[in-house]
């Protein structure tokens, strides 16, 4: 069932964090259309229940929707981020010394035994911006999704997910996502070594020489937004290197601490770059060619194209004077129609985003990041964000993204 076909009486179960802009935006939109508020079950509640096992999750869900009729029940997963307790619990759930259902973990064979124990995770100090064990965090998230998914099937076999948990997991892992898109014939940037796992800096350099790639994007496979992204280049003749990145490095008590920097950092020092690349390889990394992006007035840009129920809707161009365009780095935004792209090229980008979503038949909402190549203006899909519908001030047919999705 596509979302547009849902009945007005549909009950929605929302799995998210309370009080944030996503949850509020969704509830406001439901209220606008006269729909019952979505029933919120928070990640924190689910994680606490998960400590007691699947049955506790089942009890929690059933207690929130005592009369839920399975017919027409819609379940929406929202972003788990930005809440310290949730972060810590997911890292704990993903610990290697814990049992867990890794059936939703894409590329589980590639997952390394890195990270910390469940006991250590419980004591992990939370500092805003600090990057902590993203590979382990993602394993924890996939384990939680697997548990929820199993209990939902048991409770409400006919319930429909806005985005299917197993597809959310694939979208979230950039390696798995690009692999799926490539297999579906979607245009994506060339992957270093055709996407096979890169083990360390030396390995990356060998493959770069082999593939004649001098400029790469290195992306933390399971990072959200611009977290853990490096625009890397190495001169093939001189060996000079440069890394422009959101990763900040701080030395503290002889330890190296990595954090998400609000401002771009630039590193040219070999040892530093090598250390960052090795760390990314340990956590899981996606490496792709750096395709020159189309630009306007000294800015380059890409397009965040929202796709709902198979159709492209809201979109915005993200401008940057640097190679990294993600919104939260205080970059500028512009209506796509004002970027100088022709109607035809905008349409092509929208069609590419719709085609990318077709690779996820169990999902009906995602923010698809489309890169438009400078010169040819051809579109490439660089990311499919399962929680990518939070777009401030962007309207489609006069509705914001949540109003559009909830529209009867």
């Amino acid at each position: 069932m596509k979302q547009g076909e849902q009945s007005r009486a549909a009950t929605m179960l929302l799995i998210g964090n309370p009080g944030n802009r996503r949850t509020l935006g969704l509830q406001e939109a439901r209220s606008r259309w006269g729909l019952k508020p979505a029933v919120l079950v928070t990640y924190l509640e689910l994680l606490q229940a998960a400590e007691a096992g699947g049955e506790a999750i089942s009890r929690l869900l059933a207690s929130r929707l005592p009369q839920a009729e399975d017919q027409g029940l819609l379940i929406r997963l929202d972003a788990p981020g930005e809440q310290a307790d949730v972060e810590r619990s997911l890292i704990g759930l993903g610990a290697h010394d814990r049992e867990g259902d890794d059936s939703l973990l894409p590329l589980s064979a590639a997952a390394r035994r890195t990270g910390i124990s469940a006991a250590e995770a419980a004591l992990l100090p939370q500092e805003k911006g600090r990057i902590t064990y993203p590979g382990q965090w993602f394993r924890g998230y996939c384990r939680l999704l697997a548990m929820i998914s199993r209990e939902v099937i048991r409770l409400w076999p006919k319930a429909v997910w806005v985005n299917a948990p197993e597809e959310v997991a694939v979208m979230f892992d950039k390696r798995a996502c690009q692999q799926r898109l490539g297999a579906c014939g979607i245009d994506i940037p060339r992957r270093l070594a055709s996407g096979s796992a890169i083990s360390c800096y030396e390995h990356m350099i060998r493959e770069m020489e082999q593939d004649r790639m001098n400029r790469l994007f290195l992306k933390l496979a399971t990072g959200s937004g611009a977290s853990g992204v490096i625009a890397y280049q190495r001169h093939p003749l001189t060996g000079a290197e440069k890394a422009v990145t959101t990763i900040g490095i701080e030395q503290r008590d002889g330890m190296q601490i990595l954090y998400n920097s609000g401002r771009l950092k630039q590193y040219a020092d070999h040892a530093t770059i090598r250390g960052l690349v090795d760390w990314l390889c340990g956590e899981g990394v996606h490496m792709e060619e750096w395709i020159p992006k189309a630009g306007i007035a000294g800015f380059s840009f890409d397009i965040r194209q929202l796709v709902v129920a198979g159709r492209a809707c809201h979109r915005i161009a993200r401008l940057s004077r640097s190679p990294i365009t993600n919104l939260h780095l205080r970059n500028r935004r512009l209506a796509v129609e004002q970027t100088g792209l022709s109607t035809q090229h905008i349409e092509r980008a929208a069609l590419a985003a719709e085609a990318a979503m077709a690779a996820f038949p169990g999902s009906s909402v995602a923010g698809v990041d489309v890169l438009v190549r400078s010169g040819s203006r051809l579109p490439y899909i660089i990311d499919v964000n399962p929680f990518g519908d939070l777009l401030y001030g962007v309207l489609h047919e006069e509705l914001n993204p949540y109003e559009w999705q909830m529209k009867p």
Partner: protein, 281 residues
């Protein structure tokens, strides 16, 4: 007025397209006769191929471009090629081949040379780069460009090729070198404060309309000298865009009523108060 931009992207370079072919083709077309402005963007793997691969074609076909007045070699963004990676060349022969050229813009300074620079028509010379080698600074200093009205030099930083000192820049602040100069840009420098202090009371300001000290590491120190200078006050326009001045200094500039650009205020990097010019990022 016809303008044309030639560029070779990754795909067309991989499929064998080359800039000398594009220039030869252009020379055969009728519009070459009325072409006034030619921009050459990426010529393909510009980090290892110098313009020597197409300069001959341009020079050989010079008679096909009788109206050419503006030439830009290397118009590519950081998306195409890192500016400090762009390989340039000895470009004096191009200027010699086009004696009526009025505007010459160059991007990239690696391998760049402009020896024995003499040109009777050139009004505008702009070099955009991450670091201008001392050798090029000296070549421009000793150039004979009687019609030059605008000189804009990105000085840059040592890591990207600037191996000069303030003393090497000072001669540009003397009068008489370029008698018709009205726009002087000494910008994108990590010694922007020193340049500002030296420029603040330089006699050359009397002939300038525009002083451009933008895109560098200008702070209150250099700004103080500028704002107190009567000569600076008389400028038609002062470009300080991209700077490290304080809020207070920005207010003082606004209070002068001068036509001054103080946009794009930068904050020093927290850790070690590191400041860097724009085109090194």
């Amino acid at each position: 007025m016809a303008e044309i931009r030639l560029t070779i992207d990754y795909d067309s370079y991989e499929s064998g397209q080359r800039m000398d072919n594009l220039i030869n083709e252009l020379a055969q077309k009728p519009e070459s006769g009325t072409l006034t402005a030619l921009t050459i963007g990426d010529w393909g793997e510009a980090y290892q191929n110098s313009p020597d691969t197409f300069l001959d074609a341009l020079i050989r076909n010079k008679d096909s471009f009788p109206q050419l007045r503006k030439l830009f070699i290397g118009d590519m963004s950081f998306e195409d090629c890192e500016v400090s990676w762009i390989v340039q060349s000895d470009l004096t022969p191009v200027l010699q081949a086009f004696p009526k050229l009025q505007s010459f813009i160059i991007k990239g300074s690696t391998g760049l040379a402009l020896p024995d620079l003499e040109h009777d028509a050139l009004e505008e010379l702009v070099i955009i780069c991450g670091g201008l080698p001392l050798e090029v600074v000296e070549q421009i200093r000793s150039a004979r460009l009687p019609e030059l009205k605008k000189l804009e030099l990105y000085l840059g930083v040592e890591d990207y090729g600037f191996d000069g000192k303030l003393e090497d820049i000072l001669p540009f602040l003397e009068q008489g070198r370029f008698p018709k100069l009205t726009y002087l840009g000494l910008k994108d420098s990590d010694i922007q404060d020193e340049i500002a202090k030296a420029a603040a009371n330089a006699p050359i300001l009397d002939q300038l309309h525009i002083l451009d000290l933008s895109l560098g590491t200008l702070s209150d120190e250099g700004a103080e000298a500028l704002i107190n200078s009567e000569r600076v006050r008389k400028l038609a326009y002062l470009d300080l865009n991209y700077h490290y001045m304080s809020d207070e200094m920005i207010q003082r500039w606004k209070a002068t009523g001068m036509n001054v650009n103080v946009d794009d205020q930068r904050a020093s990097d927290d850790e070690d108060d590191w400041r860097y010019p724009a085109l090194t990022e």
